[in-house]
Symmetry: C2
Subunit: 397 residues, 2 copies
């Protein structure tokens, strides 16, 4: 039978992620892909996974496999209090809710906060996974202007002053897709604006632990905890396949999130939460994180170095202190989707930057390059090919 008549109204707002479609194309053998946005498998602490699973089973027994509280596994929430304190984030156990990755947290937040037509302010460009979490609840997006240091506080102020902004969503550190980090002064200004306009920020922070140089910048949460839901994840510091994320939320938002989560999935996998808890409690993260950083730092350097070596005048790029991405902007008129098609034919992939903008006319001349999934040699080869392809495309235009 035809089932189209059964579709809910909101379902029309759900598009397949264009990036996921790209990732399917570029997964073919031999392709050098700077398109992905995922951690390198060699970054996972495989040497201790067996030990971690054994510890979990010895310590918690059947309780690690039983239904558990929607709020999250108590030992993990307790461990997170100390983990967050080291980053200057003050949270008690009751402030913390665990979700199925930060995606699960973003969905639950959107579910309890967004009514159809509500206005959500996002960076331009912004992280697409958040848009996918928000879209089913049918918000309208307001774009915040950005420069090389992230959003312009003036743009946020104008946006908040216009009224009716339900949520501000930012990735302030090593942003996806740009790799940019919002500086300390701007963070303070953002916090002040949140207070002045009684506004709520979702601060999505998946990457800040992946810092390759420079000093840590405090989370915006530290400046205005009453106005910020801080969202974190184990996907980049342990393993994404465990699907463990969390948020620190001001009351009563955490309680609302728990209500939504009861309906969403009852709770996040007890076993995986116990793995994350032991990863913190046993000091594994402290020992393993430097290895992840040592793996990614030369890849980041290689990517930026190759851009300097092969890309000519008219191009600029971010030079991130951490994270997983470099953002490249070419001369106006250069269509990076055409470049993408040529590059894929040459066995090299990336994501055209326009997918990260709400306005389809924006970002035509931009691209996102990921550096976590290839070693330095492959990164160098890929960027060389991209430079050649770009030159061909510029000649054609």
């Amino acid at each position: 039978m035809s089932l189209e008549h059964l579709l809910a109204e909101r379902t029309h707002a759900m598009g397949a992620s264009a990036i996921r479609e790209i990732l399917k194309v570029v997964s073919r053998p031999g392709m050098i892909s700077l398109a992905g946005g995922i951690p390198a498998p060699e970054s996972f602490p495989m040497d201790i996974m067996g030990e971690l699973t054994e510890r979990v089973m010895a310590k918690y027994g059947p309780a690690a496999f039983q239904y558990d509280a929607t709020e999250g596994f108590a030992p993990l929430r307790e461990q997170l209090v100390g983990h967050l304190r080291q980053q200057g984030i003050a949270a008690c156990v009751d402030d913390i809710t665990i979700g199925c990755g930060s995606q699960g947290v973003l969905d639950a937040l959107a579910k309890v906060l967004i009514t159809k037509g509500d206005r959500v302010a996002v960076e331009s460009p912004t992280y697409l996974g958040a848009i996918q979490a928000f879209n089913p609840y049918q918000p309208e997006y307001v774009s915040l202007a950005t420069d090389d240091e992230g959003i312009l506080p003036g743009s946020l102020e104008a946006c908040l002053a216009s009224g009716g902004i339900k949520i501000v969503y930012l990735v302030p550190t090593f942003q996806n897709p740009t790799g940019r980090t919002l500086g300390l002064d701007r963070r303070r200004q953002v916090a002040e604006l949140l207070r002045r306009y009684n506004a709520l920020l979702i601060e999505d922070d998946p990457y800040s632990a992946l810092r390759y140089r420079g000093d840590a910048v405090p989370a915006i949460h530290t400046f205005a905890p009453e106005h910020v839901v801080y969202v974190g994840t184990f996907s980049k510091i342990l393993a994404p396949g465990l699907r463990v994320g969390f948020c620190v939320a001001p009351d009563p938002i955490g309680r609302w999130v728990v209500l939504a989560k009861q309906g969403n999935d009852l709770h996040t996998s007890t076993f995986n939460q116990a793995m994350a808890a032991e990863y913190l409690a046993g000091g594994y993260l402290k020992r393993h994180l430097p290895r992840i950083i040592d793996l990614y730092r030369p890849r980041c350097t290689a990517l930026v170095g190759a851009l300097k070596a092969y890309f000519s005048e008219g191009f600029c790029w971010s030079d991130p202190d951490g994270g997983m991405f470099v953002w490249v902007r070419g001369p106006e008129g250069l269509d990076m989707e055409a470049v993408y098609n040529r590059a894929v034919a040459r066995g090299t992939a990336f994501v055209p930057g326009r997918y990260f903008f709400a306005d389809p006319e924006e970002g035509i001349e931009t691209m996102r390059l990921n550096f976590t999934m290839c070693d330095e040699g492959r990164i160098d080869r890929a960027v060389k090919i991209l430079a050649e392809v770009v030159s061909e495309e510029r000649l054609r235009v």
Copy 2:
């Protein structure tokens, strides 16, 4: 700051589960609880969990910890094809979508199907977790009349004939809360009605593997696969804390569910899906399931036997062939919530049946008794106390 103004309209439709509140009360030490709805921890195959995790790591390596397809881990979907075939359910890999428990599947289905005000037909009484999954999408419920063998096909026909029913939701086998099973003839009638009225059924089947006597009854899906989304789970046959469920859905519903799930949580834990896949592939389920059944069968017998021994005239109860619950109906006028309060004071707990009805005036004189969490001795003691408490309450009334 006050944040109440940020609440989405739908959030008002989300209540905390009354049962979850009860379960908090009854978790105190010394309480004999027939209130829960969860598997016994001693039913988990703890003796093979270590072997399973080792197999997963040896076989899949880092891929078991990496991001994976939203549809589900390919080896699990492949294993499920054969597993379902043994139950007479024809499905190819593309028909199967994995979710975070059946709760995650129900949420994704509701998300893509239910627009505010849509009518959803449910058994009366029905499973509350489904209501919690559906409520945020703001449907209206239509109750289907039931007797000792589940829903009355005539009630379903009248409901479908009235028009505008978006989804029918049933737990046809060893239902929660009643323990009842819809007979073969009625299943055929339901399938015929689904076809005649071009309707869609969500057939939720968490318990059918837990059969203690009698022959298996085919799923309604087998009679009308084009009209049925079959929902299954590993929660009762492996472990609920892994949060692995699945559905078999007619195209394009599965594709819609995948779209929704991308926003919900990207995908279900790869590692846990790999555990479930190896549980099937290695023949572990086949060896372990008889042990679960041998654990629960005498508990079921003990509960029904104790009801016969201690409960006097005016009471009737279901005598299930499997599952986790027995449903008791007392004489009209007996308030099982008053009985509950007295019973808890005597250290024995259950769930008053009225919570499982949409209409708060229904089911006042009913209770749900779970038999999976206590051994036979404790079940006998609990039912004896319940009988005493009921007598006291009847004297008072």
